[in-house]
Symmetry: C2
Subunit: 171 residues, 2 copies
């Protein structure tokens, strides 16, 4: 699907059909993530795949009770790898680039999911430590986004936005 | 262009033709930014448009001498608006969501530019304070990315990436 059409049609989907998303479809999302740009091409992020029902439930709790996570076929947890970016770029790498790398990677996954006809929604509200424990991530990784994916069982209307004249400032 | 084709073809472009990018084309980028998701739909970012030659030169200096910025038709400076996200979400809004909102917005702009046949490259290495002064941003806004755009005058090969099996971890 054309990029501009894709971003116009994308919605935040919080209801999913019970059907599982096949591994081959998830792999298309991973291939999209791969192509995301990163600072100095260091790819300072890691992605954790949660498909187990019990763990999805624990993720829902870690995400402050966002219970629709339990119904997702899978959830991808995007972690920044501050040490990875910090080795090359010091404090700016640790505090800015790693976080941006993981955020751009999640944006690519989010768009890829929509392009594949999947529903997903960006989850940012969670207890970092609790998410980190659910995925069993190595020390030093910082979860920055959770992206549940599944076949959509709702079709919400678009949400409002500012006019671009309200956020673009010619200088 | 199809999303997967688009991300496969996108390159970091640091050489630009002298032709100016018309306002109508830039507006298509702004419309893409508009559609970027944000935490609680607060859109905690602002975008500054720099087209003036002298200011582009100042930006190049603020970006630690990345002189190709001088040749770009325009540069978009993405700022996080921490107070905007902080009002609703406190410290997490200030330190995480605003930065992510601005980063996702820049990712959409970056992809839109590629879809429109423009060249661009994500610039993260700069002196925050110097960039902030060049754009004359209000107090409290934090520049997190600079995106020059122009018609591409180079066609670099793809850069290498990890295999997805190296960054996707099933748990």
């Amino acid at each position: 699907m054309d990029f501009f059409e894709l971003i116009k049609r994308r919605r935040s989907i919080r209801k999913y059909k019970p059907d599982r998303v096949p591994a081959e479809v998830l792999e298309k999302i991973y291939e999209a993530i791969r192509l995301a740009p990163s600072a100095g091409n260091l790819q300072a992020y890691e992605v954790f795949l949660v498909e187990d029902r019990e763990r999805l439930g624990q993720l829902a709790e870690a995400a402050l009770g966002q219970d629709f996570l339990r119904q997702a076929s899978a959830a991808l947890v995007f972690c920044a790898a501050p040490r990875q970016a910090g080795r090359e770029y010091g404090r700016r790498g640790e505090t800015l680039y790693a976080l941006q790398d993981a955020t751009i990677a999640c944006t690519y996954a989010h768009l890829a999911a929509a392009a594949l006809g999947l529903g997903s929604v960006w989850i940012g509200a969670f207890d970092d430590e609790a998410v980190w424990q659910v995925i069993g991530a190595p020390k030093g990784l910082k979860p920055v986004a959770v992206l549940p994916v599944g076949y959509p069982a709702e079709n919400p209307p678009p949400t409002p936005r500012r006019n671009w004249k309200d956020f673009v400032h010619p200088v």
